[in-house]
Symmetry: C2
Subunit: 142 residues, 2 copies
């Protein structure tokens, strides 16, 4: 009986010690994404605003971007979409109607994935916009 109690106490203590260590809630740190992105290559497709220009965000989000993302495969870490609201400088026009970005691990792989599909990508433009985009390749610093 006594040895049973001692054994029980030992087990409780061991389990709590192990359990206590595992049960740290993993706080998602604010900068998790930023830390994970430093050093990645970012390709930004930026659609300038101008009178008479149009942009179909729904098509862009549900059709065009997923199509391109599929071409990019595992080289793609994530992609983003933003909708332009206003200039941050008073009395200046909206700079961009929309921007889509791709975070990739390797620029050459990105280019190799796009090249054979360039015609299909360009042909799809007409389904959502009459804007010719500006394209920026950049390095994620933070």
């Amino acid at each position: 009986m006594k040895s049973g109690i001692i054994l029980s106490l030992f087990l409780i203590t061991s389990c709590l010690a192990a359990f206590g260590q595992e049960a740290q809630p993993r706080k998602v740190k604010k900068q998790d994404a930023a830390v994970a992105e430093k050093g990645l290559v970012k390709v930004s497709i930026m659609y300038p605003f101008a009178e008479g220009k149009t942009f179909d965000m729904e098509y862009y989000e549900t059709k065009h971007m997923p199509m391109v993302a599929k071409y990019l495969g595992s080289n793609l870490v994530r992609y983003t979409i933003e909708k332009g609201l206003a200039s941050g400088i008073p009395n200046q026009p909206l700079p961009y109607m929309a921007i889509g970005t791709f975070y990739v691990k390797n620029l050459n792989e990105y280019q190799s994935a796009i090249a054979p599909n360039r015609d299909a990508i360009r042909a799809d433009f007409v389904n959502y916009t009459n804007i010719t985009p500006v394209i920026l390749v950049s390095e994620v610093v933070r």
Copy 2:
């Protein structure tokens, strides 16, 4: 003795059950950051490239952006910095030397935080660049 063994077995089982549940590794999903950002307001400060223009990335990263981030307080979810490398379109010049962005929960709060510090922010520009930035306010779609 027998009841001690039964108790021990019960404790082992309970602890393993509890322990087993907690010990699921929390996989950081690729799109965690994106899911967390949808609906946020994004302010992008974009520094256009042009002949004769300069940009000190080290000062920007270590001094200027942290200074502005501090003004923004808890309304700021995260900020990013990227260094322009090239246009993604052949034979086009680099569009931007650098872009800094702030993801905030509330645009009014952002503006209220910046307003009293606008002079200090502008005065700091000369420490890292002679470029007048374009500023875009956008909504995070994805």
